[in-house]
């Protein structure tokens, strides 16, 4: 009833008041667009993770207690040239001081602010290793000599061949990683122009990747749009028609992004910010808005070809497509709205905003688009109207043949799905951003350099709770470090136990035999007190807490995959269980671990969303088509496509990460569109008693072409395949695959299923409510 009333209203508005409809649509979009002033881009991926996730809780605790633990690695030097010379030392001094002066930087660890701890004739000295910018050659020789005597310290600050300095920068936790990275890189490039420069570390990657990925994605999406226009132009052969499709897409996008801004502005909710996870939002809406418009426009051309009357063609198109477009919109919007139940807060904004965009695209497709069509003269002798295009003719020619062998097609489809199910088991998660870059990429080259020549650029932390004055625990920490360092990926570890061991040796007249944790609590305590009297207590704040009840062990690693890091952490947990007798409260943390948990959450959210979406779509389709059977039929092609999508990722070793995991939403969004258009047309013809022998042919004749055109034009986003970032390439590939699997899933599996069902008259009568 509501549908009929709205249909009549839409027909009336489009045919009789096209200018008013156009003006109203523009004004409303403009109002929605004003929300863009509140639009916020958020690059801090850590904010995506719910505060209740254990590793985030531990990570926050670590940051609160020990300061920011995120490390950016900067290496500079020149291959084969020793840096133990005046100019290089002076440049390192200037660079360190310049970084220390940046508000975006919390702490610097470089050779110039390293402490030395020495004992000469009973005189304990804790002092700066480098005291001044302008060092004499003798002083430089002394520094080198001290580092040679302390190889563990040396490898923290300079490469093995003395040709590259290693500087660890800890960004200020209160500023965005992107802002910190920009300043650090600019400072390095300004002061160290004569050297080879390399950067790495999770904050560097997070800071640089989000903006680079977004810029690359925006560029390629524009190319995708151009390609989409070319494909539409070639098929529709009407510049005005393509312009109208684009117009609807652009207004829908403005509506979606503006609404996101408005909600963010009015509620202040952090859920409505645009993160790297939201990168797929515009693409998803573009495909859906394109789908609505393409279906309408092709239907209009077909009707105009038959009737020769513009108003009549519009009325018939609205009559024929109002319900399916409404249904595809409401089901897809409901599917995306289900994301409000996802554990990641950003997904609420993602789901709600896309749902608004989809709804706006539906209104525009059924009101603005017919009005635009109404406002234009369509010469009946134009090629676009006079005869079908090449694509339309191909689809018409081959479409009908597909359903001649429904059983074979169905079995083939099911076999493919079985292969997909097998492939799902092979899917791997990878969040290490190293995997984002192809070989030869400048950033990857830098990371490989840091792995090869320096300590690596990844860090892993272990938070240990216990009495840090207890020699037993300190010895266990030391054993843990020895065990961790056995892993070939680990370059170095450091903890409070190292400081205690060094101080013990120093107090015992620099006797190497005493580089151990003392066996007596009182001795440990004396060492702590001695440090507070002779060194800077701030030196220890990154290692042990104020009450000596928590300590942090940091491991610097070369590149490891997420899978390896999970195995590594599990292995260490087993080691702790087996060997730590008195204290067992040890938790692995760090950005790598938290990211791993985040991706698990993204996947969990996506799976929940897919399942909820399928259930919601089934019920909505069942309600509007008045039988559960139609609901089930509507989700079959998209369910098959989802399985094939993940199976395809597993078989082709495409990693699941926070970018690719969400792409399955495109399948839901577009897959349901195709299925509902097909079912709606089939149902119309079945109710009109079109004979079973020609019914499927006629359905494909009506909806086959718009489905294929829609899929083909959306495949233009395959332009992302040419990205320099691997996740974007995967996104492009998956877009092409999603379009292929959903369109062919509809035109083969669903078509075959309906053909077979249609042959059973009783079943079909039940489905149509005629029995």
């Amino acid at each position: 009833m509501i549908n009929t009333k709205f249909k009549k209203w839409a027909v009336h508005q489009s045919i009789h008041h096209p200018k008013r409809t156009l003006t109203s649509a523009l004004i409303i979009t403009l109002i929605m667009g004003f929300g863009l002033q509140h639009f916020v881009i958020e690059d801090d991926m850590m904010k995506m993770i719910p505060k209740s996730v254990k590793t985030r809780v531990v990570w926050e605790e670590v940051k609160d207690e020990f300061g920011n633990t995120d490390l950016i690695f900067v290496a500079f030097g020149a291959e084969g040239k020793s840096l133990f010379q005046k100019k290089a030392m002076s440049d390192l001094w200037d660079f360190t001081k310049a970084l220390e002066a940046l508000p975006e930087v919390e702490e610097i660890r470089s050779l110039t602010n390293l402490n030395k701890m020495e004992n000469e004739d009973g005189f304990l000295l804790i002092d700066d290793l480098v005291n001044t910018k302008d060092l004499s050659l003798e002083e430089i020789a002394d520094i080198k000599d001290y580092l040679i005597r302390n190889p563990e310290l040396k490898k923290r600050v300079i490469s093995q061949n003395d040709d590259f300095f290693n500087i660890v920068v800890i960004p200020n936790g209160n500023t965005s990683e992107q802002a910190s990275v920009v300043k650090i890189v600019a400072t390095a490039e300004k002061l160290l122009s004569g050297y080879d420069l390399h950067f790495g570390g999770p904050p560097y990657l997070v800071g640089i990747v989000s903006s680079l990925v977004r810029a690359d994605a925006m560029f390629l999406v524009r190319i995708g749009l151009v390609m989409m226009v070319i494909i539409l132009l070639a098929s529709l052969r009407s510049v005005a028609g393509v312009f109208m499709v684009l117009f609807v897409i652009i207004l829908s996008l403005i509506g979606m992004m503006g609404s996101m801004g408005w909600i963010r502005g009015l509620t202040g909710s952090e859920r409505f910010v645009f993160s790297i996870m939201n990168t797929s939002m515009p693409i998803i809406l573009m495909t859906i808005a394109n789908s609505d418009s393409v279906h309408f426009l092709t239907k209009f051309f077909k009707k105009l070809r038959i009737t020769g009357d513009k108003a009549k063609a519009i009325e018939q198109s609205i009559d024929s497509l109002m319900l399916p477009i409404f249904l595809t919109s409401i089901t897809t919007a409901a599917a995306f709205l289900s994301l409000v139940f996802a554990p990641i807060e950003y997904m609420t904004g993602y789901g709600v905003s896309i749902a608004i965009g989809i709804s706006w695209a539906w209104i525009l497709s059924t009101t603005l688009l017919p009005s635009l069509i109404m406002l234009k003269d369509w010469p009946l002798n134009s090629r676009a109207i006079r005869k079908p295009g090449l694509l339309e003719r191909i689809v018409d020619k081959f479409g009908g043949k597909i359903i001649k062998f429904p059983r074979s097609i169905l079995i083939s489809g099911l076999l493919l799905v079985a292969v997909g199910i097998h492939g799902i088991k092979l899917v791997t998660t990878e969040v290490n951003m190293f995997s984002f870059f192809e070989k030869g990429n400048k950033i990857r080259d830098s990371l490989e350099f840091l792995d090869k020549k320096m300590l690596g650029a990844m860090d892993l932390e272990f938070l240990i709770n216990g009495d840090m004055k207890d020699p037993e625990l300190l010895q266990q920490i030391s054993q843990l470090q020895d065990y961790v360092e056995k892993n070939p990926s680990v370059s170095i570890t450091f903890s409070i136990a190292d400081v205690i061991k060094r101080m013990h040796r120093t107090v015992m007249d620099d006797d190497p035999d005493y580089e151990t944790v003392p066996d007596d609590r009182a001795k440990v305590n004396n060492l702590y007190t001695m440090y507070s009297m002779s060194g800077d207590p701030d030196d220890l704040t990154a290692l042990v807490d104020y009450e000596y009840s928590k300590a942090l062990v940091t491991a610097i690693l070369k590149n490891v995959s997420t899978k390896s890091s999970v195995l590594f952490v599990n292995d260490i947990e087993q080691f702790v269980d087996k060997n730590f007798t008195k204290y067992k409260d040890i938790t692995a943390t760090g950005q790598l671990v938290v990211l791993r948990d985040m991706v698990e959450l993204v996947i969990k959210s996506s799976v929940i969303s897919i399942c909820v979406s399928i259930v919601v779509i089934t019920f909505i389709a069942a309600i509007f088509f008045r039988h559960l059977g139609w609901g089930i039929l509507a989700v079959i092609p998209l369910s098959a496509a989802v399985i094939l999508n993940f199976g395809f990722m597993g078989i082709l070793k495409i990693d699941l990460n926070h970018v690719t995991a969400l792409l399955s939403s495109v399948i839901i969004g577009v897959g349901v569109d195709f299925a509902i258009h097909y079912i709606s047309q089939y149902r119309r013809l079945a109710r009109a008693k079109v004979p079973i022998e020609t019914r499927s042919n006629r359905v494909i004749d009506e909806v086959g072409y718009p489905i294929i055109l829609d899929a083909l034009s959306n495949m233009a986003f395959g332009a992302l395949l040419f990205s320099e970032f691997i996740p974007l390439q995967h996104m492009g590939g998956l877009m092409v695959f999603a379009m292929f699997s959903t369109s062919f899933g509809t035109l083969t599996i669903l078509a075959s299923l309906l053909e077979l069902t249609g042959r059973r008259k009783k079943v079909m009568k039940k489905l149509l409510g005629e029995q």
Binding site: G122, L125, A522, N526, D545, Y546
Partner: protein
């Protein structure tokens, strides 16, 4: 410790000087006890509100140029002792007794900005400010807690390589005692706020409470001096390494 900080407790003559340097000179010529003995409780509070408390027996002579400290509390630190002897012509001597190792160790004093015992007072804060090593400027008078004060700007000379760019000191007009000081880092940013309380003892104004707040680290130190004795006849011979090893009864 008390003696060194005592130098900040400027006791002025009844004739108010007209400029900064004149005030500083009065400080240098002030009457001070020969020696001070006290039990000091030190309460450290970090930015998260976590605290550490220590009790220290302190004995000093010659305006704190010779000072010996024994840790009484917490139990873990009991017996640790520290001896400091300042020299005009060479680096100060600092020795520490580590009872668990039964060893005395000389420790470095080269980093004047380093914290003293983990507190917000650095070795520089604890050392006498020589008149000729700083420039003094009188600023506009001010009120602190209802007390009228002179305000001095103290700028260390470049050659002493201070870790501060300047200090602003508030001196109570009535008692001529410094009751508040702000110290600025080399970048000109406020680093520390210090408040001082005094009590009158045997004709001297002796410091009884110090509160220091490190603004940049959000860390505070509260020193409370108890059982204060002045001019108790301490002998120079007390300030020797051998005396670190034995915790005195009083």
């Amino acid at each position: 410790m008390i003696r060194t900080i005592f130098l900040l407790t400027i006791i002025f003559s009844t004739t108010y000087p007209q400029d900064g340097i004149a005030i500083a000179k009065m400080v240098d010529e002030r009457k001070a006890p020969q020696d001070i003995v006290s039990k000091t409780t030190m309460l450290l509070t970090n930015s998260k509100g976590k605290t550490r408390t220590s009790t220290i027996l302190s004995k000093s002579i010659n305006n704190g140029s010779k000072q010996i400290l024994w840790f009484l509390n917490p139990a873990d630190d009991k017996g640790v002792a520290f001896l400091k002897i300042e020299h005009d012509d060479k680096a100060d001597e600092m020795r520490m007794w580590l009872p668990a190792f039964k060893k005395v160790r000389r420790i470095s004093s080269s980093k004047k900005g380093d914290s003293f015992m983990g507190s917000d007072l650095s070795y520089e804060d604890m050392t006498n400010r020589a008149l000729d090593e700083n420039n003094y400027k009188r600023l506009e008078d001010d009120m602190v807690d209802g007390k009228e004060c002179f305000v001095l700007e103290v700028v260390p000379n470049a050659e002493i390589k201070s870790t501060y760019s300047k200090h602003i000191t508030w001196v109570e007009k009535e008692t001529l005692i410094a009751i508040k000081e702000e110290s600025y880092d080399l970048g000109g940013n406020l680093r520390k706020k210090k408040m001082f309380l005094f009590e009158s003892l045997s004709g001297y104004n002796v410091i009884s409470n110090i509160f220091v707040e490190d603004i940049q680290k959000n860390h505070t130190t509260k020193l409370t001096m108890g059982d204060i004795k002045v001019d108790s006849g301490l002998d120079e011979s007390l300030f020797q390494e051998k005396n670190l090893k034995r915790l005195p009864r009083n």
